[in-house]
Amino acid sequence: MQRTPLYATHVALGGRMVEFAGYELPVQYPTGPMTEHHAVRTAAGLFDIDHMGQFEVRGPDADAFLQRVQVWDIDQMALLDAHYSLLLYADGTVVDDIFLYKLTGRWLVIVNAANRAKDWEWLQAQVGGLDVALIDRSDELCMLALQGPKAEQIMQRLTDADLDKVATRTAAEITLAGLPAIIGRTGYTGEDGFELYIPTDGAVGFWDGLLDAGKEDGLLPCGLAARDSLRFEACMPLYGHELSADINALEARMGWTVSWNKAFIGRDALLKVKLEKPQRLLVGLEMVDKAVAREHYDVAVAGQVVGHVTSGMKSPTLDKFLAMALVPAAYAANGATVDVVVRGQPKQAKVVKRPFYKPRYK
């Protein structure tokens, strides 16, 4: 089992350490996941997400390589732009969801912890004859997220750079608390905020300093449980749940990430799905009968299993029992009713609009 540089810091804060994607990470601190969730919606939260991978891509053919392996047209990206994208298999299902940064002389590709080794091998295998260098920066960079409506004002105390000028989905290379940092105005919570990359050896001091700088604003350290409930409300997919090698990108409603005007691995298969319409679709469900619909629970219509829940919980912000589920296209319209089978009992749910919580970006 691996540990991030902040392991001892989490333990000292009373973090409850659990295994996640081969890492020991805090699922919550003594404040509890609900309090942490609300802190991010109303103030700010700090997350250790150093389990995620950072791959640098450089070389004369770096752009051609990235155009080949992921779905977003990077020719549309200016220097210091950042964008969400997908790596697809040839059949249109998903290798991973990624975040792209266009930095000076190089690209940074952020990948999921659980997929890091798989992605690395898969990317290497797609190089072909291209003159491109892939460098794994995961060990030398520590990745953190500062999320919430007060994220900017808190982080501004640690830098002379004008954070107000760093727009949503752009990046900056700045000095932060004396450290060389890459910051991206993005996140996985549905709130304004930043994802940060700092040198690993400065991580502990930086974490403590940032928590201190945000104390008066209600900044709390947040664990994996709050990270999951926040992303869930904003209907951001989690690989292994809403995205996988068994779900194509259009079933997962990720068409908005796809630039059809360029070639990429998986395009032919995905275009076929687009023309023939996806047979299944990811939907949002609101429970009509009170019950917590959890991942892998069956979705049924008239007693027949037709799909499954991919993620579900009681939404802390909306105070409703909600779920995301993969169902046949015939049951995907808003207002359609289905059952979620909870411990053998059918519980009625209706299809509702996604996202459950509308992101509040700057």
């Binding site: 509890g32 009681k314 411990r343």
Partner: protein, 133 residues
């Protein structure tokens, strides 16, 4: 590890329910250690009134942010009342584990022997401490 609260008047099951006999009726909830392991409770599914239950039988479910866990009947009998306050304010299971009871059981003649098979507060405390390692 945290120091968990105990109710010295209650008996405890290995599955972390507490039971207190009040006016001849067995009152059941989950322990402070159990609510801590669960983290924030968001929903409690209670048994039907009138249901005949056996000691050790899973008859209710407590759902936290993280997981769904069974709640067992620590003693046998008939469910005579459920705590409907848990429907709208399940979080009291976290804040007041020994007053946020789940259900009341009209016990059978086996009550005394079933209670004897459960743990006293001090023994339960030691059991929780031992299972934490």
């Amino acid at each position: 590890m945290a120091n968990f609260k105990l109710d010295n008047d209650a008996r405890y099951a290995k599955s972390h329910e507490w039971v207190r006999v009040e006016d001849g009726v067995a009152v059941v909830g989950i322990s402070d250690a159990a609510q801590d392991m669960l983290s924030d409770v968001v929903y409690v599914e209670l048994p039907e009134i009138g249901r005949v239950v056996k000691a050790g039988e899973a008859i209710s479910t407590v759902e936290s942010v993280k997981a769904a866990e069974d709640v067992n009947a620590p003693v046998s009998g008939v469910i005579v009342e459920v705590n409907s306050a848990l429907e709208d304010t399940p979080e009291i299971v976290n804040t007041q584990p020994y007053t946020a009871w789940f259900f009341r059981i009209e016990p059978t003649a086996a009550l005394e022997s079933e209670l004897a098979g459960l743990m006293a507060a001090a023994d339960y405390d030691a059991y929780v401490a031992a299972s934490a390692h």
